[in-house]
Amino acid sequence: MSGGAFTAFLESGVRFATPLAYAALGELVVERAGVINIGLEGAIICGAFGALIAAGTGSVWLGFAGAALAGVLLAAIFAFFVVTLKTDQIITGTAMSMLGLGLTGTLYRTMYGTAGASLHIATIAPAPVPGLSAIPVIGRAFFDQPVVTYALYAIVPALAWWFYRTTGGLALRAVGEHPEAARGAGISPSRVQWAALLFGGAMGGISGGTLVLAQVGTFAEGMSAGRGFIAIAIVVLGRWTPFGVAGAALLFGAASALQTLAQTMGWGMPYQLPLAFPYLLTLVLLASTRGRTASPAALGQRPA
């Protein structure tokens, strides 16, 4: 592989990773609060649809706001069921995926008919960072990207700082580890979980918004294409830490890029191999690090 092809591969990997990272960082916060949101897929597709509607105003930034809002709305339903009514997280999450995919498909068809929305949505173009984008090999991949990607460079350390260096982060982690202990300390676990889920919904929505506003310029039914499930895998592979999740998202993104690259280079390997690889890697990593220790102790439990 030539240097240019490698750079192109990295660039593609970062682009694939961007929406994954948003969704996974949101899911990370949710899981740290002890909730597993299998319905993330629904938030992503709602975000994509919300972006389409809001960006119709002509503003990309309103588009992102609409994406986040749509994700938040779906997350609020999930939170109401899982936190307030204390329903089973897995089955509720499954319903949320179906609801998100179903609602967006229906609304899209109702609003745009069968002609579709076309490519009329303005997208944000890559904005090269002077100097940094000239770094050999990795410069273009990491510093010639749309602003949403750069935002991640701030969100990841900010989240890490917030997790470990603020009382809010402490409260979040406490709820995920031992909700009753958190309650004893005057923290309301359900309020924390609500907040975490809304944040996760917003990030999932932005993830979908990225697909529309930074990549494709239009909406397609089912365009989330399983990213919500991948994001859950990414959180595991990232061992429930912000930097770990960022790295894992990059790895999953690179796997998709490798699949693309392998085809254009005519390497003739089955295209399923690079796609299955990150999942296998996650399993191996979990086995080698004895997965249990890293996960929040109360993950998936019905709150008391």
Partner: protein, 313 residues
Amino acid sequence: GARDSAVGGAKSFKVALLTPGPISDQSWNGSAYAGLMRIKDSIPGAQVSHIQTKTPAEFEENFRQYGAAGYSLVIGHGFEFQDAAARVGPEFPKTIYITTGGNTVGANFGAMSFAFEEPSYIAGIIAGAMTKSGTVGCIGGTELPPVKAAFEAFTAGAKSVNPKVNVIVSYIGNWEDASAGKEQALAQLGRGADVIFQDADAAGLGAFQAVRESKHAYIIGSNADQNAVAPEVTLGSVVIDIPHAFMVVANEVNGGHFKPRIVKLDMRLDVVRWTVNPALAAQIPAAAAHAVDSVRTQMLAGQFTIPAATLTK
């Protein structure tokens, strides 16, 4: 929402459509739905019904339901429906089952066969003539027989005017992930491709976006007339006029003179065609336009055989 249902009706002409994907894809499924609407609007008394099916296990169930409900014509939109047609057909002899693609024929079931290769070959000629880099690309949703055949014809067309042309073929792996479609196109652009032929339904919209942003490449649409998706970079579309095709079959069935067969629908019937994007027509070199005209004339006369391309799997 649109309600286009049909219930009861003694002697009405009832037509059903099964699509494998959402009809908002602006491509394969969308144009089939447009075809169904065309039938509804142009055949008096026609009643229509549509269902989106996920898995082949549902194909048969719905074929039967339509048969039992007395539908005259049931269209399964894709070769993947042919098994179900062969299984269900004999049980409902009064219903005609047609699949778009496939090669299964029986007493009351048959297939439409689109000569999609013909306009794909023409698209190849245009691409071969337009490329400056000598590399063109094909992007498919998944590796299905009609898609593969179209890409082979495209390759042959490109090589006919530019024997050294390099054709890259890749598949997205699904028909919805528009973002992955864009990446696939960007990868091909990165390898030097400057004309891309996409056949990936909704996922293909991403390829349009990639080409639009690249500013130095062209794209060719497929199935529906996609020239309007990105008019500034779309050379043309390899169109299957599915509404037209559906009308051909529907009229035969409605008239009671449908003979089960593989209904060959080619350029001569004007069901498949190369539709150039008028906005960019002027940029196509005269020689290429000439070559296209000559090939088209031969095709319309039924005298053209597409040479086998050397397309590796």
